[in-house]
């Protein structure tokens, strides 16, 4: 299941140093977070509703900027107005919690949106997708298990299928980083694991770094190389996992009792 991290463990693709950020001036959604994520790994962020885990993802693709601290994505500072980072954004597949599919267009068209930054003005204005992009999109749709459904409109799909389209769109970007916000929440046990396996398999093949937000601790431990637990915007715990063993255990400022309480809250869900 897990990709090897032994040879490239010094290669940090995402580094956050003492990062704070807020939506309004009073409350910080993310507080003093330090993260460093190895290239090619599966990194899980676990926390309860409103803990700031989605905000962490938005910081990683430049949709939000930190009010304090520094972030480096592949050694670059995220900034949506910077041309250089816009090219970088194309390499970051981002799947928001509500997926952000365009419901009135087909599965194939939704997938091809991932190729838009590679197209010139004329092609994109008249929806003329190059043949090789269409072939690539069909290949990816087959990979995610949607072949034969290319011409379906997005709103006609089931919840699991919609998630597969969002994954296909992200893969179409030929990403180096995949950010997924609760992509398997609200799915049944079997479908959730199917989709997780899909991501982990593709991750190995493409040497992708996947950063996935979960609210299910069990799922995170099962698939991730490292798991960070976020509570009230702070990282309170980070675990390294190898097979069934926890190999590394770092706590923040919390006591053992508080961590145990956190765990039991997670498992109740």
């Amino acid at each position: 299941m897990r990709s090897s991290i032994s040879t490239i463990s010094t290669n940090k693709i995402i580094q956050m140093n003492e990062v704070w950020t807020s939506y309004d001036s009073k409350n910080y959604a993310v507080k003093r977070v330090n993260l460093s994520i190895d290239r090619g790994t599966n990194y899980a962020i676990v926390g309860q509703l409103g803990s700031g885990k989605s905000t962490l993802l938005k910081l990683m693709n430049g949709m939000m900027s930190p009010s304090k601290g520094t972030i480096k994505i592949d050694y670059q500072k995220p900034n949506m107005n910077n041309k250089q980072f816009k090219l970088m954004m194309h390499k970051i597949g981002y799947i928001p919690q509500n997926l952000g599919l365009i419901k009135n267009i087909t599965v194939l068209e939704n997938t091809l949106i991932g190729a838009l930054p590679r197209m010139n003005k004329f092609q994109s204005m008249f929806k003329i997708f190059p043949d090789e992009e269409i072939q690539e999109a069909k290949k990816i749709l087959k990979l995610v298990g949607l072949s034969g459904k290319e011409e379906r409109k997005a709103y006609m799909l089931s919840g699991g299928e919609k998630r597969r389209v969002a994954i296909a769109r992200a893969f179409m970007q030929k990403p180096t980083i995949l950010l997924a916000d609760e992509i398997v929440s609200e799915l049944d046990h079997v479908t959730a694991r199917e989709i997780m396996n899909l991501i982990v398999d593709a991750q190995k093949r493409m040497n992708l770094t996947a950063i996935m937000v979960h609210h299910d601790m069990q799922l995170a431990l099962e698939y991730a190389n490292r798991v960070a637990v976020i509570k009230d915007g702070e990282k309170i715990l980070e675990i390294g996992v190898e097979g069934d063993k926890i190999v590394d255990f770092q706590t923040g400022d919390l006591t053992a009792e508080e961590i145990m309480e956190m765990y039991s809250n997670e498992s109740k869900k």
Binding site: N104, I105, G114, L116
Partner: protein
């Protein structure tokens, strides 16, 4: 009902009576005038059959004027509404565009028609220009409001890919707002047919031009024939647009069937 309500109703009735006296609105005259309608109806039976051909032809001209006005008006208003939407621009862009649109909307179409009759002379072209202006001012507002209600999830997801603003408009804004845009266009066409029917009153072409001329020369029977043609046409267009709306727009909003193009 208590005392106070009775008093309010009494005052309102008194106001209506006083106002009617001031504007010479006399119900007796209304009832005495009813037989005059019979004269008009009788005159209608005396009009020649060719008149219907003229009536339908001028109605057809009216519909064509409304059609050009609606299509060109929507084509102009669509880019303007993209600049006027708050979720796509900063306030230095949408502020001035909205101000211009509001200024265009302050003129009713009949005033635009007078202005264009002065500019390009009598005839249907002035009417078409008036319809275009009215459509731009009105439809652009409906459109930017529809664009502002688009779901922010696809916007966020697609803009995070690093696409250009034009690509965002082409691939997210247009498909997501298409059912609304189509519905507004139908509504506008419907409305413009009715509007164009009266633009002839100021010499801007269309069926209204005939109606006002017949009335001037006391040929009420002929005028009535033209009015009936307007009535029937508007009813038919209304019926067709309801059908189109049911087929494409209502269903798409319930996620059953969808129009993208």
């Amino acid at each position: 009902m208590n005392q106070k309500n009775n008093l309010i109703v009494g005052i309102i009735i008194a106001l209506v009576v006083v106002a009617s006296y001031n504007v010479d609105a006399n119900p007796v005259e209304f009832f005495e005038g009813i037989p005059n309608l019979a004269i008009v109806a009788k005159e209608m039976t005396h009009v020649e059959a060719e008149l219907f051909a003229i009536a339908f032809w001028s109605m057809f001209e009216t519909i064509q004027m409304a059609f050009i006005g609606t299509i060109v008006g929507v084509a102009i208003s669509l880019p303007l509404s993209m600049f006027a939407a708050r979720n796509l621009n900063n306030k230095y862009v949408y502020g001035p565009v909205r101000a211009i649109l509001a200024a265009i909307r302050t003129f009713p179409s009949i005033l635009w028609a007078i202005l264009f009759v002065i500019m390009v002379g009598l005839g249907p072209f002035a009417g078409v220009l008036a319809i275009i202006m009215y459509t731009v001012g009105f439809v652009a507002k409906l459109q930017y409001e529809a664009i502002e209600t688009i779901d922010s999830d696809p916007m966020d997801a697609v803009s995070s890919i690093g696409v250009s603003k034009w690509q965002l408009i082409r691939y997210v804004v247009l498909p997501e707002s298409a059912p609304h845009l189509l519905s507004q266009m139908l509504y506008m066409f419907d409305y413009n047919v009715r509007q164009t029917s009266i633009l002839g009153l100021v010499g801007a072409g269309g069926i209204g031009f005939y109606i006002i001329n017949y009335i001037k020369f006391f040929e009420y029977g002929k005028a009535a024939v033209f009015m009936i043609v307007v009535l029937v046409t508007v009813l038919i267009i209304d019926w067709i647009s309801v059908k189109i709306r049911d087929k494409y727009i209502i269903k798409s909003q319930h996620g059953m069937e969808v129009v993208t193009k």
